[in-house]
Every structure is written in structure tokens, then in C-alpha cells.
Symmetry: C2
Subunit: 131 residues, 2 copies
DNA sequence: TATATAATGCAAATGAGTTGCATTAATAAT
DNA sequence: ATTATTAATGCAACTCATTTGCATTATATA
């Protein structure tokens, strides 16, 4: 796992959130995380959840995924590089991999002098259940 | 251009927005559009801008682009299929094309039974000026 | 020119996320 | 074990993008 600062304190909500991200292969929003914590009887304030997400993000424990819409989703940085298929009917999010992604990236005609730091590839459509 | 409903009324703000999208190769947010209209002395309410964006979206005159963050951007549906490179420093958005995009799409290992309706590919990094 | 109703303006509400500040609690120091 | 330091938290208030209800205006048609 990524190294957290030396002065990082292990609080119940922090531990739970780290555990949840580590054991879930599913992107989560702040509100969803907040509910999950409640079910574990960890009554953290939603502000605390947002702040912790920011903290975990800063320390690359998690990363954002860019899904169309107002809500930000986060997932663990562990696991292989992948993208997402979002069902526009039920909101379900599944992983998508691209074989030979390097080839794909070499086919990108990027603007002159633009330095790519990261990329986002998302597919929208209908999942098996909603088809 | 896409056909609008028969009962569509040509109001000053509608006409201006359609013209602006047709003549700009640049994604615009509701707030940016609102400012552009003001400069043309069309003092439409921001609500009207949002409603008109929704209308143009519904009639496929424009489409949303999915950029990380709270603000939604829209661009004309005219023009070739392309993606975007977003400068995370200055917010500048440039077009990106992928050569042989069909090949890229065939390399996508999509979930079983998932029907892809559209996809979004965005690159984040630093533009020439911010490098 | 009158009529129907699409489009608009305004105010208020919503939803996601942020911030200031006082309080609490995890850890280090004693 | 006790205390001190300060990271983490809770709460309320706020911002920002966007939406909604409702009364009013104005475009296109009869």
C-alpha cells in the first residue's frame, strides 16, 4: 500500500474507509461510503467522509473516476489499470479493460506540446439486466 | 442540422445559442454561454440558458462532454468525432482524435451483455502554455 | 388581430462539496 | 499512567451548478 504520512492517526472511520476500498472492487461516492459506514455503526459526519476521501486521494490510496453527472466516484488504486462501463438505466458500474492499451495510446493525436498526465475512458449504455 | 420539433419557436436566445454552437469549435459551459449572450446584448436568464441547453441536447444539436469536475460542458454535434485534452492547470480544452478508433473499440473487453451507446475519452495534463 | 401555448424570468429549492471554528481524541512525550 | 500536542472531527453556514414551480411574456398560427 501507499505510504501515509508519519503523523497519520488511525481513526475508526479512516480504518473502515481504507478497508472498504481495499475490499470493494466497486467505485463509491461520498454518500454511498457514508451509508456503508453507518451500517458498520461508524457514525462519521459526511464532512469527515469528504475530508477523508480527499486525504486518501492525496496519498494515492484511491483515485477519482470521471462519470458523467454531478457525483464523484472513487475507487481503490490497487488493482490493474481499467476503465468503466456505466449503465445509464440503473447506474451500475462495471470494469472494462482494453487489450493492447499502449497501441491505443500511440494512436492518440494529442495537441502539440500537451503533456498527458492521465486519461479517462468510460463507456455508457445498458447492462445485461437493463437490456 | 438536426430537425427541431415543428412547434419550436425561434427566440433571440435560441437563435444566438444555435449560432454560437455552430460557429465555435470549443466546448462551453452554461455560465460561459450566458456571458457570451450578454456580450451580444441578449440578456437571457441563466435558467433560460440551462433550459435551452437541455432542449438542444434533447434534439441532438449539441452533446455533453464529460470533464472531471462540477461543471458540464457542451459542444456542437456537428464536426468529426473527437475527444478532448483538458489542461488541469488553466482549464483549456483542445480536441483530440484517435487514428483507427474502430480498432481501439474492438480491443475493448466490454462486460458480458453490455450494450455500448456512447463512450467518453478524455486526457488530462498540461497544455503548451502551462508546460 | 386574437388565440394557444412555447419560452421566459424570478425566486426558491436541491444536491454535491467546501470552509471556519470550536471541540474531541489519537499518539508522542514525560 | 498522565499530560501535551495537534490531527481529526462535528456542526453550521456557505458556495456553486443546476433544477423546479409558477406567474408572465411573446412567437407563431388561426
Amino acid at each position: 500500500m501507499t505510504r501515509l504520512p508519519l503523523n497519520t492517526r488511525i481513526t475508526p472511520s479512516r480504518k473502515a474507509m481504507i478497508d472498504i476500498f481495499a475490499s470493494t472492487d466497486h467505485p463509491l461516492s461520498a454518500v454511498q461510503m457514508h451509508k456503508l459506514l453507518k451500517r458498520l455503526n461508524i457514525n462519521a459526519n459526511i464532512t469527515t467522509v469528504y475530508r477523508e476521501l480527499e486525504f486518501l486521494l492525496n496519498h494515492t490510496v484511491i483515485h477519482k473516476i470521471d462519470i458523467s453527472g454531478a457525483t464523484t466516484y472513487y475507487e481503490s488504486s490497487e488493482g490493474d489499470h481499467h476503465h468503466h462501463a456505466i449503465c445509464t438505466s440503473c447506474g451500475n458500474i462495471q470494469d472494462v479493460t482494453i487489450s493492447d492499451e499502449e497501441a491505443f495510446l500511440t494512436n492518440v493525436r494529442k495537441p502539440h506540446d500537451f503533456t498527458i498526465k492521465r486519461h479517462s475512458v468510460e463507456f455508457y449504455g445498458h447492462c445485461g439486466t437493463c437490456n
